[in-house]
């Protein structure tokens, strides 16, 4: 009738369970610390630059896949994008935002600062690779389009358009070409800190019509 005394726990089993719980606890602490760090980065606007995606949720800013992009308001068109990309032909190309464009007859993103004549002759063109196409619309308006197969992302036209025009030409990372390296070589070499991470489902940072 006497109660059967419980058998003592197996020493090995006890140690194994102790280790298991300790490992789980450590993982929990590490995970919590990582989350806290991430949260702090979000609060400080370091996850995805807060000003660039005002409508993005915290999840989108920090936990969705991200890609590299150029903030057009920080880019100084230094030319580094053309040579620092790991690809032989840079993933950075010039883009044109038509609502910002003035459709100028004499576009200084297209023409040399001192053109011989106002026509499409190669000697008058600013782009060293002839990547900008000028099309007559109606007097005195012309449309300018970028041939991305020729553009090397040097930013010379961006400089001209910014200096004299509305800045409708600007550089963007084209995601059909970008390898999305973890450590982007152009981002490391960007002197104005214009390379930022953006959510992959909103991969372009387009200029708004704020001054045209």
């Amino acid at each position: 009738m006497a109660e059967k005394s419980k058998p003592l726990p197996d020493r090995r089993k006890f140690l194994a369970e102790a280790f298991r719980y300790a490992a789980l606890g450590t993982l929990g602490v590490i995970g919590g610390a990582a989350f806290a760090k991430r949260y702090r980065m979000v609060q400080e606007g370091k996850c995805v630059e807060s000003g660039l995606c005002k409508e993005c949720s915290l999840f989108e800013k920090c936990y969705k896949p991200q890609v590299w992009q150029i903030d057009p308001y920080k880019c100084i068109a230094c030319g580094n994008c053309a040579t620092y990309c790991v690809l032989e032909e840079s993933a950075v190309k010039c883009v044109q935002v038509y609502p910002v464009c003035g459709y100028c007859k004499i576009c200084f993103g297209f023409f040399e600062p001192e053109p011989y004549d106002i026509n499409e002759g190669a000697e008058n063109q600013l782009c060293p690779t002839g990547a900008i196409k000028r099309t007559y619309i109606e007097d005195p308006y012309y449309e300018y389009t970028i041939d991305e197969s020729l553009c090397i992302g040097c930013g010379k036209c961006v400089k001209g358009c910014n200096t004299f025009g509305n800045g409708s030409f600007f550089l963007q990372v084209r995601h059909d070409r970008c390898l999305n390296c973890n450590e982007c070589a152009i981002a490391a070499a960007c002197p104005s800190g214009a390379f930022v991470r953006v959510p992959a489902d909103r991969p372009y940072l387009l200029k708004e019509v704020d001054h045209a």
Partner: protein
């Protein structure tokens, strides 16, 4: 003996080889440009260089800076005007600040929103004091009128969401407002009633319309009674009657000093009414963006000379262009003149006013 020497040679050779590899590795690491500070490595064909165009023949420069620049204290500035007593009015942020020509702040008029342009009308009366001034301020889409104490006298009806008012001028009982958004000039009476539109595309009147790629669109009334309006997209200054008939125009594109450079210039202008300060009465003082130049043209549009070029308008005399898009869009300087023929240039990047006087001819 020879065998030992051969073994030593191999060891020395390997040592030298390792040393060389280390030296090459160190040099490679030192030369590695991870910050991009050494430039893109692209040739000169890929550089955008305006340095040569920015240099102006000193013989063409007719003016010199004659006073210390006036610091407006604004974060952003848009326009400048001079009243008939010589006070300097600067529109910026959400206010108008009034200075004397020594830079002393005389008055501040707070505004409900950012002013785009302004002009000051002196009302003829027996009592000639500054009390007889009316300040017409063009906001983004409407006009407000203040007295010199900053009291709001009138606020006119909005011209709609598309309106971007960039210039204003008063002549007799007419107020002319340049609207870059709608690409026309509105003519009002002084009570705020619209009388007519000027410059609208009209083939029957031989008016091609204004081409305004960027929000710079200025106007002024000449002593000949004609309204002068910039048509920046075709590099013209056009003369209209108050009824809207196009009388004549002048101006041409050129990156050289005698023409207007870029896609759309001049951005602003003023008319000299002084006693022949630049070789001709009623000369025009024009202001260009991109290649920042302030120049003088006679009343029929012939180039007379330069007030200041990029070398005079930037610190250190270095020809610089803007870097960031934000800087570039601020680069449309404004200009005003006083009755002594001095030229006041509002630097909208540094938010200062520079004062230029004609260089005395000593020959």
């Amino acid at each position: 003996m020879d065998k030992r020497l051969g073994a030593m040679d191999i060891k020395a050779f390997i040592g030298i080889l390792i040393g060389l590899v280390i030296v090459i590795a160190v040099v490679a690491v030192i030369r590695l440009d991870t910050t991009g500070e050494k430039g893109s490595g692209l040739g000169t064909d890929f550089e955008y260089n305006l340095e040569q165009l920015g240099k102006i023949d000193p013989n063409l420069i007719l003016f010199e800076e004659s006073a210390k620049p006036i610091n407006t204290g604004f974060g952003t500035t848009h326009a400048i005007s001079i009243d008939s007593y010589g006070a300097i009015y600067v529109a910026g942020d959400n206010a108008i600040r009034v200075f004397d020509d020594g830079g002393k702040l005389l008055n501040t008029i707070e505004l409900p929103e950012a002013p785009m342009s302004l002009t000051v009308e002196t009302i003829e009366s027996e009592d000639s004091t500054t009390e007889n001034l009316k300040i017409y301020v063009a906001m983004k889409d409407h006009v407000e009128i203040y007295n010199s104490q900053g009291k709001l006298l009138a606020g006119w009806k909005s011209l709609g969401d598309n309106a971007v008012l960039t210039g204003i001028a008063v002549s007799k009982n007419n107020v002319f407002v340049a609207d870059a958004g709608n690409r026309i000039v509105w003519r009002y009476d002084t009570d705020g009633k619209i009388i007519n539109r000027i410059g609208q595309k009209d083939e029957d009147r031989n008016i091609a319309g204004f081409v305004i790629p960027s929000p710079y669109f200025d106007l002024a009334v000449g002593r000949d009674g004609l309204l002068r309006v910039v048509n920046p997209g075709i590099h013209h200054i056009e003369a209209y009657t108050f009824e809207g008939d196009l009388e004549f125009s002048w101006g041409e594109f050129s990156s050289g000093v005698k023409g207007f450079c870029g896609c759309c210039n001049p951005v602003n202008f003023a008319i000299l009414h002084g006693p022949d300060p630049a070789g001709a009465d009623d000369s025009f003082v024009t202001c260009e963006k991109g290649l920042t130049r302030v120049k003088i043209y006679d009343p029929v549009g012939s180039f007379v000379g330069v007030v200041a070029g990029p070398e005079q308008l930037v610190e250190g005399g270095k020809v610089e262009t803007c870097d960031t898009p934000a800087d570039c869009q601020l680069g449309g300087f404004d200009v005003a003149v006083d009755s002594a023929g001095r030229v006041f240039v509002l630097d909208t990047i540094k938010n200062i006013v520079r004062i230029f006087s004609r260089i005395e001819d000593t020959s």
